[in-house]
């Protein structure tokens, strides 16, 4: 149990650092009333709102009261529309989760099998083809791929909607855009991990038992090879969140990423902070989930063992 506590403690420290960092960087960056209030509002009005949003107190006090509020689950009020900031953010979570989840599913369902095939048939034409596609896949900038897809499927062929999130048809292009690079990376990692595992002595043992190729791959190699892939998956969550912002912007997908860009543009401090904390929490949580999965996949992971990146 100790190591779970330790993990939690580390996570808490990291979270604390993140939110402190975010708080100070954002607070030090200028006066939100200048953005949020109309251009020609008088000074008294500005003061009123500064007081209302708690921007008039000394920075240190703002910080402590912010922390105090956070501990009570209060993320503050969105400056823009007076709604609970957490609510504003939380409303968008399902959309981003749907997009990210689909992208991860695409990545795993396409990337893993391709990586396995490439490794098993190493140096064959299949391997070379898969790996070439993978290099293309992860070199392709997300925003460029998105734009090309829009150009082809929305503007030329007029078959898929280019923006919004109403139906499953809306999901296709954003998820494909977000999932492609990811799938390519997963394919590469799976391949290298599989190649590593396939050369391990226990694979020879399995062969000497008379286990067939399918059995060797599915029962012996894959459980071992998926361990580093899962780790990578955890690490890549953060990267994916970044890409999600871009993808959501390109496809006007109303998720966290879009909320972030608009909140950032309008200096909605409470919302931006809430998003940052949520994202950092997601990454920390993802890493913990990875640790758990890791332990489940690999019995060697024991007390205090530290996952190697």
């Amino acid at each position: 149990m100790t190591w779970i506590l330790l993990k939690l403690l580390r996570a808490l420290v990291t979270m604390g650092l993140v939110l402190t960092f975010v708080f100070f960087v954002l607070r030090l960056s200028g006066d939100p009333t200048l953005v949020l209030l109309p251009d020609d509002v008088d000074q008294a009005t500005r003061e009123f709102y500064r007081a209302k949003w708690g921007l008039d107190a000394p920075l240190w006090e703002q910080y402590t009261s912010y922390l105090r509020a956070l501990l009570q689950g209060d993320f503050g009020i969105s400056f823009r529309n007076n709604i609970d900031a957490f609510q504003v953010v939380w409303d968008r979570v399902p959309k981003t989760a749907l997009l990210g989840g689909t992208a991860i599913a695409i990545a795993l369902l396409i990337g893993m099998p391709l990586g396995v095939l490439a490794a098993v048939y190493r140096d064959s034409w299949l391997d070379r083809t898969v790996m070439s596609i993978a290099v293309f896949g992860f070199s392709m900038p997300n925003f460029f791929l998105g734009i090309l897809l829009i150009l082809i499927f929305s503007l030329k062929l007029r078959v898929l909607p280019s923006s919004g999130s109403g139906t499953w048809a809306h999901l296709i292009m954003p998820a494909a855009t977000l999932g492609t690079g990811f799938a390519a990376q997963i394919a590469r990692y799976t391949r290298s991990s599989m190649i590593d595992v396939l050369s391990k002595p226990y694979m020879r043992t399995a062969r000497s038992k008379g286990a067939g190729l399918t059995r060797r791959v599915s029962q012996h190699a894959l459980p071992n090879a998926s361990v580093p892939v899962v780790t990578i998956l955890g690490i890549k969550v953060g990267e994916m969140l970044g890409w999600a912002v871009v993808t959501e912007t390109v496809f006007a997908w109303p998720g966290i990423g879009r909320l972030l860009t608009s909140a950032v543009a309008s200096r909605d401090l409470a919302v931006v902070q809430c998003i940052m904390i949520l994202l950092a929490f997601t990454m920390v949580a993802a890493n913990m989930v990875v640790d758990l999965v890791y332990g489940w996949l690999d019995p060697r992971v024991r007390v205090g063992a530290r996952a190697q990146a």
């Binding site: 043992t205 459980p223 060697r300």
Partner: protein, 329 residues
Amino acid sequence: MLFSAENLSVEIDRPLRDPVSPVRGVSFSLDAGMTLALVGESGCGKSMTCLAIAGLLPKRGRISGGALKLDGQDLCALPENEAQALRRRHLSSVFQDATGGLNPVRSIGWQVAEAVRLRKGATRHEAQAEAVRLLGRVGLPDPERRAREYPHQFSGGMNQRAMIALAIAGNPRLLIADEATTALDVTLQAQILDLIADLRSSLGMGVIFVTHDLGLVAQTADRVAVMYAGRIAERADVADLFAAPRHPYAHGLLSSLPERQAQGGRLATIPGTVPPIDALPGGCAFAPRCPRVSDRCGQEMPELALGAACHHPLPPGRAAATIREREFS
């Protein structure tokens, strides 16, 4: 005769270069309940021979000639799947790195049970019970509990025992032990050797025992094949070899053992180093290092005759200890 290798050759393809032959025309035979030791220095082809027999050659490797006869059936002549089925039923291997040879994410019991199922086609439940029995048979205390544990929870010796349990699942007739005790401490090694000997006699297995340690050969083998550069240099009964090696290489090896030296004196040595497998000299591969070399050796490959592949073998029955050192300097 349980098993024989006849003129076995192995080729390994290399990218952008000519293939190499780490095993070139190796022949030996083995009866049930007997131990044959394959001995030689690193790179002599002994492990590759084992892999060829077990059908575990690396992807680029293949048997390029000869026959492998198990109960008279030639594994090389059979279709691939039939040969593999025969191997699966009758043949198994134990390798040096037991801990690496076990799958780290599967329990010991699962792995042994899998071998049982693959070899005998038992049900999951039966296989599990059989696995526990086998683990007990190889001397693991509390096999019920141990079966649920993973390789990393075992010591090296326990893992080697588990590997042996895995290897004897389904009562194979031929066991290949490739440097099976090399990584173990001497006190453990002795015990594992005892275990293998015990199993051999109780199960009536033939054992091919691959090692570089002449001490082990002396202690375990009935017959010995000394390999050098992919070929058998000498093939003899163990007592004969140690009493009077006929091939100069075998003789050199034995002489360089500290046990066979006068105390405090210099050790006998074989000058030079083993040639790389892709740059063998013409004729006898040992010729450049051989004290008995003649012109003929550089041109003509010696055939294995009367147990030694040498144009100038040492006379039979002559005690090795009496050979004077100057012959090798």
